[in-house]
Every structure is written in structure tokens, then in C-alpha cells.
Symmetry: C3
Subunit: 171 residues, 3 copies
Amino acid sequence: MPSLFVIGGARSGKSRYAQERAETTGLSPMFIATAQAYDDEMRERIARHQADRGPEWQTVEAPLDLAQTIKAHGAPDRVVLVDCLTLWVSNLMLAERDIAAATGDLAEALGGAKGPVILVANEVGLGIVPDNALARRFRDAAGIVNQKVAALADEVQFLAAGLPLTLKQNR
Amino acid sequence: MPSLFVIGGARSGKSRYAQERAETTGLSPMFIATAQAYDDEMRERIARHQADRGPEWQTVEAPLDLAQTIKAHGAPDRVVLVDCLTLWVSNLMLAERDIAAATGDLAEALGGAKGPVILVANEVGLGIVPDNALARRFRDAAGIVNQKVAALADEVQFLAAGLPLTLKQNR
Amino acid sequence: MPSLFVIGGARSGKSRYAQERAETTGLSPMFIATAQAYDDEMRERIARHQADRGPEWQTVEAPLDLAQTIKAHGAPDRVVLVDCLTLWVSNLMLAERDIAAATGDLAEALGGAKGPVILVANEVGLGIVPDNALARRFRDAAGIVNQKVAALADEVQFLAAGLPLTLKQNR
């Protein structure tokens, strides 16, 4: 099934763009949230994002077991939106999971998806090299996941200031 | 009147590109500077930028009251260049102004401009999530302003290594 | 001779893309490494990158004297790949060399190259303004070098998530 990968910076409009693309499929939309509400700032962001989506959206949470969740919920009459892969990578690191293995599982789930999948990720590698080694490890891991998903996706859009730039478009 | 929005990273050549675009209009160019010379490093940057512009340029300063300044100086025979919106957002935050209200005023000023307006902004959301909450708030505010201005502009260019990439071009 | 400039963030796939482009020339590939193995993390990265390249690659190191190395090794039957300019800028700063003069020498070496040259650099200006003045100076210097090299290159590609976006293509 066709898959769309949307990358961009913080506040680049990537979530909104991905939601609009999901809604234009005419299929029943499901939101797979990777965010965990571990503090007030994050709880606020999650609530704001949920309010932005309409009542037709179903929401499930998958902070870690993303491949399994995509497999369980993919269906020909449903579009699945994963937002976002970068938080998922962060969750995997904090939980000391094997990121390479999890990325392999994700690739397999995308390949076997029974309906269209839209994935959102942050591009985090375009600033100054971070001071601490953990941030550098995270930056590397997030970048590698982005490359793998972009290679698999049928379409990749880079968002800046709310506007999409096509990085890839299979026909 | 047509408006052009130029975004890019630090030292991406966005100011030079915006100035060249202003000069090719053949209109009388006015520079609206949002920078405030609060330290030596900034004073140096401002002086360097002024030296780069030719003597045909008029300069006015608008660290906070940007909408009002655009309204006051827009004219059919003049091109107005605002550089840059990101510093303006920073100034608004430091002055504890209402950024949403100021952005609304800016949008209104752009809609009613009596001559072409060119706006420059930094894209600051493509690095690692900043450690401190203030920087995250700034990053969010700057990104939201960029999205709003990009939605209003007739043309949006993303600059990297001095080269423009078209994000939007109305015809 | 034609030159290609590849810019992108950390883990954007820029090195791999540049290597593939070098290999498709059919010429004998030479890798000019600007990296210095000053700690274990860097030693690991260098070893990983060398293992990624095939046995047909020759490697020379040029942490500082890049122009001279390009001049010495450029040849009509060889493609030279410089990876990366941003580390070179960092090396020049640490060694307190004159970056403007070194960039001038690099420009001259590129202009007079006897074979095709591919250069890789990081885009580091798209995050929040760094806290410390040294990082800001570095960010400025790296951005200026990128602009100069992009102006000289026949082709410039921006990499994100492993995918190229054409910034410039002379014909």
C-alpha cells in the first residue's frame, strides 16, 4: 500500500500537512501517537494536537511497539498516521531497546501494511553538533531511521514554514 | 501587492538574496531593521550589513512595532525589506508582548501594503530540541510566525548555501 | 572540470550519496579525509566510513592543507571526493589559521582542478542560535565557506533523509 513520509523541523507544519493528506484519502483516519505525557509541557502539546484533529479520528498510543501497532490496525479502508518517529526513537533509547531491530520490524510492518500509512518525523541534524554524547547518539539514530523510512516510502515531503517540498515521488 | 518571504539558516545568504531581489524591482529600497544593538557582537553585525547595502537604501528601525512601520512606509514606488522576523519574535518575547496579536497585526499590514514587501526569517527548528524551555518557546513562536507569513506570501524561497529553492510561487 | 557540492545535516546520507556519485563516474576514486582521530568516538566514525568504501578507493588525509592536496592529486582519470568541508573549517579554527585565505586557496584549487571534484559539507545553521560565541563563529565560518563553494560548483545537492534535492545544476 502507498506510504507517505513527512519530515521537517519543529513547528514546520508537518503534523498538520500529514493530517490533511490523511483526510483527503477519504478513508477512516487513525492516529498512532508515539508521545508519552511525562511532563506538563508534553501533556499540553498532546492535548492541543488532539483538539486540532476532528472527531472522525481514532487515536491509539504506541510509544514503543510501533511495528506491532501498525500491523494490528492497518486495513484497506483505514489510513494510519504515525506521529512521530523521532519521539519513538527517543522512547526506544530511554527504554534501552535495540533501535536497529525495532527499525527492521517497522520496515517489515510498512512493507506488509494492509492500508496506506503516513509517517511524520523531525529532521534534527541541521544545527550545530550537540555538546553531549547522548544527544549526538540520538541525532544519529533519528537520522538513520529517517533514511530507512524514506528509502521505503513511495512519497517523501520536506516541510518548511508549512509548505511541502517533494523529495521523492514514485509513480 | 506581491510579497516575497525568504527563509533559511544562519549564513545561508538569505539577506543578500532578499536585497538583490529588492534591487531588481527597480523601486526605491527601504530596509526595516528589527535588530537592536544590545552588545558589541550585534553592533558589528549591523554595521557590516549596512555597509553591504548601497547608498540608495534607506533604513528604519522597528524592533517591535513592525506592522505600524510597514503601514507607514509602504508605497507604490518603494520596495520594503524586513530583516528579520526571527529577531522581531525574539524582541517581542523579551519585551513580553503578545506575539499572536502582533502576528495578526503584521498579517493585516501585509494584506494592506501599498507596495511590494520582502520579509526575511530564520528557520530555527531543524536542530536538536533545545535544553531550556525558553529556547523551545522561542523556537515554537518563530516557527508559527514563519508558517503564517508563508501562507500569506505570494512567493516563498528557502535559502541554503546562498542558493534559493522555491517553496511557493503564486502566478 | 565539473564539480559537485553535497550539503546536508548529520546523518542525512550525504557521504553515501557523494560516494555513489563518485563511483558512477567510472574514474579511479580518491577520498580526501579532513577528519582527525582525536578521540575514540571520532576514531570509530572514521573506521566505519572507511569500511563502507570499497577497496578501489584510495584515501589521503588533509585536515588543514586541503587546497594543496586537491592540487597534488587531481587528475583527468581520477575523481576526488573531499569529506567534509565543515570539519576542515573546524580544524582551521582550532589551528588558528586564516579561514578566508584558506577558502581563497580552496577556490583557486577547485578552479584549476585537473579532474572532477566532489565536496561534502554540513549545513549547521538551521537550529537555535548557539549559546557560546565560539560555536556562533564556527557556524558563521562554515556557512560562508558553503556559500563560496556552492557559487563555484557546477552542481549542488541538498540531502535530507538520504534523498537529494537539486539546489543548482549548470548545463
